[in-house]
Subunit: 113 residues, 2 copies
């Protein structure tokens, strides 16, 4: 166990613009993930994605929340690009966007490695 608790060289604390930008993005993504209902939605979309389909706001009955509330959660997830919406009027088909999951994982891993 190291007992030192001082920064010897402040050079270590240099931050690039790129890093700050990444942190901003990562924070925004984490924020989108920071709600149990939204994780529940993602989990459901992952499950139905495997079975080939996707699903609209049957999420409402599945989550037991008001339609407008679910719609708002979907908006947030869509804005963070964790999900993709496809119109099938008058329905909406939501799918997960695995690419963004991978991006998040990558950015997070960069943070502490």
């Amino acid at each position: 166990m190291n007992t030192k608790c001082m920064v010897i060289d402040k050079q270590f604390l240099q931050v690039s613009e790129q890093q700050l930008t990444n942190e901003q993005l990562l924070a925004a993504q984490a924020k989108a993930l920071a709600h149990p209902a939204r994780l529940r939605i993602l989990s459901i979309l992952v499950a139905v994605d495997k079975s080939g389909g996707c699903l609209n706001s049957d999420l409402v009955s599945e989550l037991g929340l008001a339609q407008s509330t679910v719609s708002e959660h979907l908006r947030i997830l869509k804005q963070a690009e964790f999900i993709i919406a496809e119109a099938m009027p008058p329905k909406m088909c939501y799918r997960i966007n695995k690419k963004q999951f991978e991006l998040f994982s990558t950015l997070f891993a960069e943070l502490y490695s």
Copy 2:
């Protein structure tokens, strides 16, 4: 591209208590990460961790935030167990807790795989 947008079998949507618990935890962790200043703190702590030491609220000068504000961010990160506090009176030595980073990664990966 699959045009189906319906769940055939609601069995797929069965959720275990364990999964719900994991989602609660993951959401709480994500919430702790969902702020640029806190990610900045973690990044700094990772950097100084490598060089053997750790650092107290020199974070204040590094972040340009009030002492009480930084203290609050540290409290949140500590509560989420992303960092560990060690008293060196009257100073406080903060370190990152890599274990928790790994746990978060794992829980997140489970979500979408």
